[in-house]
Structure formats: structure tokens, C-alpha cells
Chain length 383, copies 2
């Protein structure tokens, strides 16, 4: 069963013969760099939390990526954080001034700071300064994605955001590229890793919500106040991004009907088990193109056993994308953690390094509307 | 739960504002077309079987794709097939001479003829004539992909092949782009829709192999002689392509150890059920980068219940891609049928229309080696 392959040439999986030429000829030919500089793509990171540091370690470690050179690290607490880092990051330029990134010769800004403000301003400034941007910031894209994508296009630069939804599950790429020749009818997805850790823990051990949260905190899968995760705020922002990609429909995350997962207890799990299933926090969006109606919600949901969602445990994300021609496409991957998000971010950086045009579909502006509430039952039904 | 969205602008999901400009400026700027022609991408189809006709219908039907214009249909039995087609395809140029495609102003040749020869020669000729190529032909890519990708790169054109593996499951894109920032350790996958139809039928109904094959034939999911599917030849060709993408390792499909699914009967299913699982045809590849050893086989395999593969019924494909950083990525989608393959092909065409560079990773040449045989048991073990 084994091949003793004696492989003559063993390249890392990301490599492509001729990529150097591609980067040189296609990615940055209008960025004003001299031809001699075009062999490498220079990268800076804004925000050195879990994700930013994971990217920094990947780009400087033994598994570093040919042609990608990390030169700048920017964080408002740069000095403190620099003091705690090892030798690998010591030789880079650390700064607490974003202007230093703008004035540098980096081609791509990786933005991983939390929250919408001031991240939106930074992304805008980077694009205006002629940088492309890769962000894992769901709030930035959910709230200002459309305008920023339009700006990127005007600037001849790219804005990519695979890491903003689904962690390592490549759902942005699947919807934006893979399903580009189809019409998406419906998306059902587990988009919040923390809620899934908590719910699958309650399912497996029979413990209560508080105990499951405490354990998720101890394992680093939940913050001390996980209400944004459990209440569906996090998943709603991600779902708004998916609606833009899948349906070209813009909806404000705050207009998405959310029902909190925090009220689920052992009694609900017992009831679900009797019915032959379990409970997961699902995000659902369904678009009727004829009638121009969008059904969209985030809620703890009954999922029957032997379906995809019932098999998703721990900090994983999963999605079923239902299409007119291709039928159902299923995806699943690690939804949380620095390393998983770093993979999504680095994939985006490599895509920009190879492409020149700003080709991410820009969501179409439509007015966000009030959504009618749920019925009285404590969780929605998965159809 | 419903939003009465009153959407001001409802674009098809594939659209991107500014795509026209992208196509004009990036995709074909060196193809010799005058600027006036650059607003549209012209496409021709070579081979009008199930897949080719499905693509033709999509590109000419009510769901046609803006900026993509199908102009030429080429098949060695063009006259017969033209006579059987409706009005939608009547206005196109039908021909049985491939040279007519080469001499035309089409930008992209979609190649969907079966088998390695003469398809390889056609793909080579199209690239030499300055066309980009999208193929769903696994034999072409498995046997000559490396050389043809290198030729495409030299020509400044693209060769894309999402439809060659996994049908509508976007696994080529996931491995080539999404996992580009990671290292793939291992792939386990259901890659042959026919075998999965037959095995899941046997599992569900308890019928024998012959009856399941007869029913699959009647439903259009198997040919009258499905030995290439059941014996693993089809899956091995696809697995060779995945090895090139995931590991940059080239292996000849004929060097992949295959064990036929045709010997599985009701007795094996009964035994698997007692052990808490069922049987699927799996393709497996695992690459040890340190020791440069590739383990690679296709075989009917015991899969425990409540795992992904046990839940895959009918003509679906599925894959688990295990990575160093991202952990396990799971994908599943329709693995057979013209419409599903057409989605993969059209996604590739749209990608080419937006990009200019030939950026598909070219597999690295390594000598194919003999593989040691299986042990004596009638199916392999899924780990």
C-alpha cells in the first residue's frame, strides 16, 4: 500500500512552478515597484491578537511561504507585545502607528483587529494608499464591505475576506468562485464555533449551559462573556456576508432575526433526543428570486441525527449550500483558532499575489427590512 | 422570519460589478482582440455528450451568463447531434472539424470528450492557438496535466479542470487555492459516483451487486459496463490529479493500488453492519513529506456509522482533506450528471474571464513506483 516515492523534487503544497513570474508580471505591475522588487510580495499585519500572531508565526517560521515576506507588525500595544515575542519576529519593524504601514513598501495589509471601528478606517486608508487588504474582520465586511469593495476596485487593488466567515472552511471562495456558475437558493450553516462547542458539550455530557460555557472558557473556545456568540450576533454578521456573496442581497446584521442559544438547557436536549436529534445554533438564509423575499435567521435549531449538522462537534463550522444546478454542496472545517484563520488569510494573500484584478463580487445595495419574529417554540425547525 | 426585501437590484449570483472591465483589461489583453471585442468572452465546446450539452444549454438558456457568449459547437457527429437539438442551439456554428474552433475568435475551449486520446492533442492545439482551455477530462489531466499546464503557462493562457474531479464538489479549487497556505497530509474521498450509487443501494435495500448495477443503469448513473467505475480506474485517475494538487507529487493512475468493488456482496454488508458501519469505495492518499513516501489506494472500505462517508448516498462525492494547520476540511457535492459538471466548468470559465495569468499549480514530475498489494481481507480499513 506504500509507495517509496523517491521524489526528486518535493515542493511545499502551495508552490507552483512559475509563481515568481506570475507575481512579478501580474500582481503588482502597476504598483510602482521596480521590476527587481517584483519577485517578492511584502506583507504587513495590523492587529496582533490570536489570529494576527498566528499569521506572523506562519510567515516567519520554518513553514514560511516563498515569495511572501512579512516586514511590518502594527498594534496599538506594539511595545508590550514585541517584548513578549521570540527571535523569529524580532527582526521585523514593530510599530504602533498605522501610518508607518501606509508609508512602507508593503503590498498587502493583513487586518485582524476586532470590531468595526476603527478597522473600517484603516482598511479604507490602506486601499487609498494603494495597498491590497486581507481581513478576517466580519464586522468590517458585514457593515462596510460593499463600499470598501467598490473602493478597492476603483483603486485597482483587492480586498479579500475568506477568514471573516467559517474559519478554515473555504465558504467565501466556494460561494464567490465555485458556485459562480450556479444560483444559490439557500444556505444553512453553523457559523459560530463557540456556540457549537457549548451545545455539543451539553449534548455529549448532559451538563448544563453554565458548566459547558465554563469549560469552553477554560479550553480557550469562549470568552468570559460569550453573549455575542450565544445570542447569534457573531453568526448574524457572518450570515450577512454570505447573503451578499450568494444572493447579491445586502442585509444589515442587526436586521437578521436572532434567537438566543443561552436559553437552551438539558430539558431541550432531552426533548430533542426523544425526537431523534440534537440541537445546534444554525444560521439560515433562503432567497426567493422571483418574489424577492429573503428569509434569514440565526437560532438554536433541532437537527435530526445522521444529518451533517448533528455530526459537527466542538469548534467546527459547517454549511450546506443548496443550488439550482449543483444541488447541495456541503462544507465543514475548523471554525475557530489562530492557525485555522491564518490558513484562510494566507490563501487570500497568495490569491492576491497571483491575480491583479479586484474580482471579489461586490454586494448589491438593498434596503435592510424588519424581519418578523419567531413563533413561540424555543427553537426553530430545521427543514 | 421573512423579509419582504423589495430588492432594488437583483443580479445573478455570479455577477460582479465591473466584471466587464476585468475581462477587457485582464483576461485577453494580449490575445490580439481589438478593444471593442473585449466586452465579451467567446466560448466554444468540444464534445457534445451529456456534460458538453449541459454546458451548452446553460450558456444559451434563460439562465445564461452575462459576458459569456457560446459561439461554436464541435463534435465528430455534429450533423446528427445538431438535428436533434432545439432552437436555442440552432443559431450557433456547428462543426465536426476542430480546426474551425482553432481558427475562430473564441477565447476559451471547453473540452468534454471522453478518454485521453485524442483529447490531449486537441487541448495542446488549443493552447498553441492561443486559447485557454477548461476541461472535465480526468484522463487528460491525470496523464498529461503537467506538460499541458506548463504549455499553458508558456502561452500565457490558462488550463483549468475543476470538473475533472468531484463533479460539483469544488475540490480542485479547495486544494489549489483554499489550502494554498497549509500543508495537506492526507486525502480520503469518494470520487466515483457510480460505485457510490451501487454500494449505497446495496446497503439500503439489501440487494446484490447485479441488481444494484441494473438499477443504476436504469437511472442513468451507470454504463452497461461499469467496470472502470467499480474496479477503481476512474477514481484512481482522479486521485492522481489530487495528489499533484495536494502534494506536488506525480503518480501514474496505473501505479495506484486498486481493489475492485465488484466483489462486494450482501455478506460483506452484513458483516460491516455488525461492526457498526457500512462499505464505500474510498480513494486514499497520504504523503509523508519527511520520508517522501506516498501511500495511495482505491478500495471498497469499511466506514463506521456517524462518519461523513457513511452518510453519503447516491451519486454524491465527498472528501476529507487533513491539513497541518487547518485540521480536517470536509467537502461533499453531486459527483455525476451534466448539470453538476456544468457548474464546475462554468465556474472555471468565469475564473479565466477574470484572471489573466496561468496560475494553476503545475504538478511536479516524480517517477511513478510500484505499489505493494493489499492484505488478504476483502476490503481495506478506514482509519
Amino acid at each position: 500500500m506504500n509507495v517509496d516515492a523517491s521524489i526528486e523534487s518535493c515542493c511545499p503544497t502551495f508552490s507552483a512552478s512559475g509563481i515568481t513570474a506570475d507575481v512579478g508580471l501580474n500582481s503588482f505591475q502597476t504598483s510602482g515597484n521596480s521590476p527587481g522588487d517584483l519577485q517578492r510580495c511584502h506583507v504587513g499585519i495590523l492587529g496582533l491578537g490570536t489570529v494576527g500572531l498566528a499569521v506572523a508565526r506562519r510567515l516567519t517560521g520554518p513553514d514560511s511561504i516563498p515569495h511572501l515576506t512579512l516586514t511590518h507588525l502594527c498594534d496599538r500595544r506594539a511595545r508590550d507585545k514585541q517584548a513578549r515575542q521570540g527571535a523569529a519576529l524580532a527582526g521585523l519593524t514593530w510599530t504602533d502607528r498605522f501610518d508607518d504601514l501606509l508609508a512602507s513598501d508593503i503590498d498587502i495589509v493583513i487586518e485582524t483587529i476586532p470590531g468595526s471601528e476603527p478597522a473600517v478606517d484603516y482598511v479604507r486608508a490602506a486601499l487609498l494608499a494603494g495597498k491590497s487588504v486581507v481581513t478576517s474582520n466580519k464586522a468590517v465586511i458585514a457593515h462596510q464591505g460593499e463600499k470598501l469593495l467598490a473602493l478597492a476596485e476603483r483603486q485597482g487593488r483587492q480586498l479579500r475576506f475568506e477568514g471573516a466567515v467559517g474559519g478554515a472552511m473555504p465558504i467565501v471562495r466556494a460561494l464567490g468562485d465555485g458556485m459562480a456558475g450556479d444560483h444559490v437558493l439557500r444556505i444553512d450553516a453553523i457559523l459560530n464555533g463557540t456556540s457549537n462547542v457549548v451545545l455539543s458539550k451539553m449534548e455529549t455530557t448532559g451538563c448544563g449551559m453554565d458548566e459547558a460555557i465554563a469549560e469552553a472558557c477554560a479550553s480557550g473556545f469562549a470568552e468570559s462573556d460569550p453573549s455575542e456568540d450565544l445570542d447569534g450576533v457573531d453568526a448574524a454578521a457572518k450570515l450577512a456576508i454570505l447573503c451578499a456573496l450568494a444572493f447579491n442581497v445586502r442585509i444589515s446584521p442587526s436586521a437578521i432575526d436572532t434567537r438566543s442559544t443561552s436559553r437552551i438547557g438539558a430539558a431541550q436536549f432531552a426533548k430533542a433526543k426523544l425526537r431523534g436529534g440534537t440541537i445546534r445554533q444554525l444560521a439560515h438564509a433562503e432567497f426567493d428570486r422571483e418574489r424577492r423575499r429573503l428569509e434569514v435567521w440565526v437560532s438554536p435549531t433541532f437537527v435530526p441525527h445522521a444529518t451533517l449538522f448533528s455530526t459537527i462537534h466542538g469548534p467546527r463550522n459547517a454549511a450546506i449550500i443548496s443550488c439550482v444546478y449543483a444541488g447541495d454542496i456541503m462544507l465543514s472545517g475548523q471554525g475557530a483558532g489562530g492557525d485555522a484563520s491564518a490558513v484562510a488569510i494566507i490563501a487570500d494573500v497568495l490569491t492576491i499575489a497571483r491575480d491583479r484584478a479586484a474580482i471579489v463580487p461586490a454586494p448589491v445595495l438593498v434596503p435592510a427590512r424588519t424581519i418578523q419574529g419567531f413563533s413561540d417554540s424555543s427553537f426553530a425547525e430545521a427543514v
